[in-house]
């Protein structure tokens, strides 16, 4: 049994014919080709597959693709405007918050969601926002630096 779904990904209308057991992660990566969404634990624990689902960060590996019908999905590919990187992406580069890079797209989406909620996050809010994202290179200190830098830039603080 398969079903038809329609959703928006990074502002673009997409449709697909899918198996009902398909995860949103597999839909985005394999069916639609958004490889910026990373597959890692595949059990909702590591955050590498984080995307925005109607503005909220979710682990796409434990969301049914069928549930995304009518939803607005944002992946890391949807953040840059042309050649201009999103402030969160630029801050990750400028602070050296990227090591092997595999966890980075998930982190960037989680941080974007945080800074959409507030441009002046407390240390607790930062910890909460990224505690579902694992970096096995253990680069957390620089990631936190990147979050502060991105927040300052978005808020226009010198």
């Amino acid at each position: 049994m398969s079903l038809n779904i329609r959703l928006r990904v990074n502002g673009r209308q997409q449709s697909a014919r899918i198996e009902p057991s398909l995860s949103l992660l597999d839909l985005l990566r394999d069916t639609l080709g958004y490889k910026g969404v990373k597959i890692c634990c595949n059990t909702g624990e590591c955050g590498a597959c984080t995307v925005l689902f109607n503005g909220k960060p979710v682990n796409s590996c434990v969301v049914l693709a069928a549930d995304a019908t009518g939803a607005e999905i944002v992946t890391v590919e949807g953040l840059a405007e042309g050649d201009r990187l999103h402030p969160v992406q630029q801050a990750f580069i400028d602070t050296g918050a990227v090591q092997c890079g595999y966890c980075t797209p998930g982190f960037i989406i989680s941080v974007k969601a945080l800074l959409d909620r507030t441009t002046n996050p407390t240390p607790e809010e930062i910890e909460e926002a990224v505690s579902g994202n694992i970096c096995r290179c253990t680069g957390y200190a620089k990631i936190v630096d990147a979050i502060h830098l991105a927040a300052d830039r978005i808020a226009g603080r010198p």
Binding site: S21, T43, G44, V58, L64
Partner: protein, 290 residues
Amino acid sequence: MKYFEPKSVSEALSLLKRYGEGAKVVAGGTDVLVDMKFKEEPLCLVNIKRLPGMSYIREDNGCLRIGALTSIREIETSPVVRQKLPLLWEAAHQFASLQIRNTATIGGNVCRASPSGETLAPLLVLGAIAHARFPKGEKKLPLGDFFLAPGKTLLGSKGLLREIEVPVPSKGSCGAYLKHAVRGAMDIAIVGVAVLVTPDAGGQKAKDVRIGLGAVAPTPIRARRAEKALRGKVVGRALMEGAARIAASESSPISDQRSSAEYRRWIVEALTRRGLAKAWRAATGKEVEG
């Protein structure tokens, strides 16, 4: 695998009746997807995520009514939950990651009936009641009776959880939810302890005490003998320490990859003692004296 998105509770019930044990209900999907990937697909998936009118938090006559499809994040960010049910708020706040809290539902956490389910011990001590629909009508099922075994509840294969009714604790009572896990909130609890204490008017005796234990028995349980050891007594350090030891003896944990049974019993004792002291301090403004 057959797949349905019923438009009403009665349509969902008739699907459950038709497919029996072969049907699996999915809401947020954070547990069901993992099972489908690493165990097996059910014969039939009944996706209730879009059932209308099942996601809400309503205050009603001394209780909060929480729709089964309400996400953990909605509970965590609800001002009325924070104000009236801080114990449930604590559990929601310590529930996995933000990504999971945005997806997982309270109904899913309850129906999954995992002994370590984060909201279950708090809901038990709060005296929550499940409102479930069956083919023959609605039933009110106190959560104290609801859990039968890991993954098994009174819903069986025919019932659908519609709402959780959570009585607001009496004025003056305070609670605490303490969780022991290696990776903080992200991790499955090795032990979870929920405590709710109500001091008497003088702040000396415990008018009521409820202790809920998670992850240390086939279902979440109340430590009834430990509660009894405290109820009506003048609260002191020795009494609380004794009650914590009783709570540990009421648990029946297993050994698994996360910890040994013996370690879990030690943790039950420690967390019960700390939870009681914390709740007592919050309720009376005083440290427990020895």
